[in-house]
Amino acid sequence: MNTQLSLNAFLPLRRTAVLLLLVGSLALGSRAVSAAPTLTAAAHPSATAVQAAPEAAPIAPAVRARPAVTARKVDWSKTSLVVAGSLPIQDGGRVKPLSTFANFTLLRLNGKSTAKDQAGEKLDSMRWLLDTFVDPRRSGEYPIFQVQDSATVHAIGLEVDTKKKRDRWSFAELRPAVPKLFDLAHEYSQIEGKNRTTMQAQVVMLAEAVDIYLGLAGFLDFARMPIPLSEGGILAQEFGTARLNFSDLVRRGGDLSALRSRLEKSDDPLEREASRELASVLRFAADLGRASLHVALQPPDAVLSAREAWHTPGELLSSAFDGMPATAAELAGLVALERLGASLGSDNTVDMAEAEAALVALDASTGPIAAARGETRRLDLEVTYYRLDLLMYALAAYILAFVLAAFSWLRPAAALLPRLTFGAATVGTLLMVVAITLRCIIRERPPVSTLYETLLFVTATGAIIGLSMELINRRRIALYATAALGMVGMFLSNGYETLDKRDTMPSLVAVLDTNFWLATHVTVITIGYAAGVFAALLGSVYIVVRLIRGRASAPEFFTSLGRMIYGTLAFGLVFSLVGTILGGIWANDSWGRFWGWDPKENGALLICISQVAILHARLGGILRELGIAAAACFAGTIVAFSWFGTNLLGVGLHSYGFTEGINSALWTYYGIQWSICALALVVGVREASMVKSQVSEPPATSARGRTTTPAT
């Protein structure tokens, strides 16, 4: 889960950065570059970095003057977008559609899954990714790097006067500061995550973002830049050309490997010298290939290989040299990528028809293999899942339900409004159920295996509990609570996705890779969470209404609501207790101890204890309706502590900004619930004094009456 950078993470990065700078300058200048300087630059990245350095000195004014905005002349064709979006890519340990990859990558950089180009036009994530692949100069102008704090920008030596404190920067603006950024990030990444200052954490995050961007923008470098051979040299004779395509190099990999060992072993010093040129050509090609370290679009051919890892172009090259020749399909894929790269004309406009043809060819080369490997079965479903965006519609339905509910409070007599509310809430819940089911099918997993999915599942389960309750007692209380819970739950899950910034369907680490325990322990305990949260919500409603109206106004309403709280708590207890013990049994099977007093275990225990204590206090007459409502509110904060709070105790969950966001949400919830507990005290004291003044009133309204029997 942790994104701690490895110590050396930034060393290869720097190389990539340098290459991109190189590519940028090539693209800017003439595209015909003689062999010598290119090879030298590739072999000595520091040299290029130094060349880039003079640019870095007078950053301030130079950067501010944005180049003339050229509006996009031609957009990507619909076919291009659809084909590209459903291309399979292996990322994060699984095969997913490129559209998912684009979505979460942009979310990670930009803090949202859409971007704006330099002219302010909105771009979806797939357009942005295609621009970045094919036309890096254009996408370099898009302000997509979200920087939270101007101190970060100061630290890497950029002027901030014309930008707001929090703002988005384009790669072109950041580019002069990239060497410094990587240096600093390398330094800070050696500080343990939780000990970093805000600025240090932001620098590391920005460097990660820039690195991700460079990996994408440099992906087609190999396709854009044919490799020059020295004139009249042995290689030029061998190939009969002065320029080599990357795919030629891969196709001839075996021959070249043989040629190289022949030249190296030759007695003739001149032939040995030619082997040096070959070596530098290969090094250059390998550097180009390395730019695409994370974009693995090509599956290993099922017939030839049972290997799991997909290939990047660079890996195909090194395999070819290691005696594993590329298959026809792999070569066809490379050629298609080269066509895609070449669709950027010398006038810096993209030939959209050519790009579309290249994407279709790429899909034709990889799709069948991936399908034969059985890795694309659920790919279309995933594309559909994200396209349908059921969760957004669910949110809309819950909001509608909530608004309708609010209106029906104003006009309690109207019969239609509650029905509509019920309808909207039911639609929202059904959409959630469908969405969760789709996710289960796509992942082949039980509904809950990540923190994000607990949010979806708790919302859906809470809503189902609420709607069932409404069906049973038809008092509208549960209905209104459901609308509120659904709306808040969906907002929170959206917020979580935005904060987390990564694929919400990740691969799972070894210990979690067990559908049996995910289906039992995790599902059961999450239902327990849902019940706990819903009970707290009902408790809050009880206290607030009793504060406003007083119990005497509608005793039957309060009795009924009290019973609902009790029922939800009892329901929750069954699941929390069984879920917690199941967790212990799982721990016993994977680590050898049933109980280890670890924070997450303690959190689950606290939920059980709180619910058991409330039920016993009720039986013992220590708490009555009001007390139980207040205790349910408090128990809600215990659920929140166990659910999210325990994860924040140790090392930061993912990164500074992320923990920060969860922390504030968590404390807001604690604050609300504790305030409501305080209100309960006010109600209790007020009603106790009323009892004193009106002795005739039976003591049933006392919150802490000892002598009365429980109100079951």
Binding site: S230, G232, S261, K265, D268, P269, L270, E273
Partner: protein, 403 residues
């Protein structure tokens, strides 16, 4: 009995019960009855340093903190003088020796990437440790020199009150050392201890410094700090003013695993850094010919030839020109010959306007990859060199691998 009393009583009963249950037992420890076990890798009679991982003895997993990168302690060979003891290397001290007679004596070898601030800064740092004032600007560069790991090194010798790493100062200490400083990497050999003991052990120190060498220089060229390319240019830099000194008794005509026959009239010059041999030619010794050997391919044929051409004011070779160079058999392979007329500019600024350079590059291969490369270069005024052209070719062909 009211409820409070009952509660207190109950608590007391329970508490008492727990106390009696939990009361400690304070017996003296005793060994258990002996049991017999199979031996799972326990060794008896292991030395202290091996037990705690301070020696790199085979089998003992080294727990001592060796530096993660760069050369490690066992990259060096040396002859340990009598009375000296080896201590565990630290991350900085690749060699860490002491003396039997006085634990305060320390001899350490430290390698740094870069020049550590230059000669002056390092010398003054050491002087500071002895409580001495820094030397005036430029004076450090004038200190006597010696050799450390084959590199020219500044000799340091001073006495004073030594305060090492923050401990109290030890009076009447002496520090002798060698500082080989280069931007490519620097080595520091430092010998510290009571002045009297240092004086008696000075000869041992010299012998130690002379014996200190890299275990396998070819395996890790440059890992001791000085990459071959840098060393090669350093050699050229030193090739400035020809030494017009009467040659001393001729040394045997073989060195560095090479043997050769010097043409008549060539006079051997004193040994120089990075060179196997240097000869002076011509009536006044105005031309110079030397042989240098580098491990591996020495940076490649073309880059070396181009560097030579550059010294003569000529541009790099084209592929066609490279292909057209003459080859003669030598050392079991082919030597590539080059001649470059032009204006010679040495690294130290000397110029010979009408000059000619004759060069030969030979590589000895071992199953494909170059094992080592031999460079022979003759440079001087055109007239002198033209006259020696035949002698040069004969000299190159006379080179043989010697055991």
């Amino acid at each position: 009995m009211n409820s409070i009393q009952r509660t207190v009583f109950a608590a007391a009963v329970v508490f008492g019960g727990f106390l009696s249950w939990s009361c400690g037992h304070d017996e003296s420890p005793t060994f258990s009855e002996p049991l017999t076990f199979e031996n799972f890798g326990t060794r008896f009679g292991v030395s202290t340093s091996e037990r705690f991982g301070f020696s790199s003895a085979p089998g003992g997993a080294s727990a001592a903190g060796a530096p993660a990168q760069g050369p490690t302690a066992d990259a060096f060979l040396y002859d340990l003088p009598e009375g000296w003891v080896e201590r565990a290397p630290t991350s900085m001290r690749l060699i860490n020796l002491g003396h039997e007679d006085d634990p305060r004596v320390e001899l350490t070898l430290v390698l740094l990437a870069g020049d550590g601030g230059g000669i002056g800064a390092n010398v003054n740092r050491w002087r500071g440790q002895l409580g001495l004032a820094p030397l005036p600007e430029g004076e450090a560069e004038g200190l006597p020199t010696g050799t450390l790991l084959g590199e020219t090194a500044v000799r340091f010798d001073a006495s004073g009150a030594y305060s090492g790493m923050g401990s109290t100062a030890e009076s009447d200490f002496r520090m002798v050392g060698l500082l080989a400083i280069d931007v490519a990497g620097s080595a520091f050999l430092k010998f510290t201890g009571p002045a009297a003991l240092i004086a008696t052990e000075l000869a041992s120190f010299e012998a130690f410094a002379a014996s200190l060498r890299v275990k396998d220089p070819d395996a890790a060229p440059g890992s001791v700090g000085v990459p071959p390319a840098v060393s090669a240019t350093a050699g050229d830099a030193a090739s400035g003013a020809p030494v017009v000194e009467a040659p001393e008794a001729l040394l045997p005509n073989s060195k560095d695993g090479l043997s050769w026959t010097p043409p008549s009239g060539w006079r051997q010059a004193p040994d120089r850094q990075m060179r196997s041999v240097t000869y002076l030619l011509g009536p006044q010794g105005e031309a110079e010919c030397y042989v240098a050997v580098l491990g591996g391919d020495g940076g490649g044929l073309k880059s070396n030839l181009d560097r030579w051409r550059q010294q003569m004011g000529a541009g790099p070779l084209s592929s066609a020109e490279l292909a057209g160079l003459e080859r003669v058999p030598s050392l079991g392979g082919a030597a590539v010959l080059i001649d470059v007329p032009g204006a010679y500019r040495g690294m130290s600024g000397e110029r010979v306007e009408d000059a000619l350079m004759l060069g030969a590059v030979l590589s000895q291969t071992n199953g494909g990859s170059a094992e080592r490369t031999v460079f022979v270069k003759l440079v001087g005024p055109t007239g002198t060199v033209e006259a020696e052209r035949g002698a040069f070719r004969a000299f190159v062909q006379s080179l043989e691998g010697a055991q």
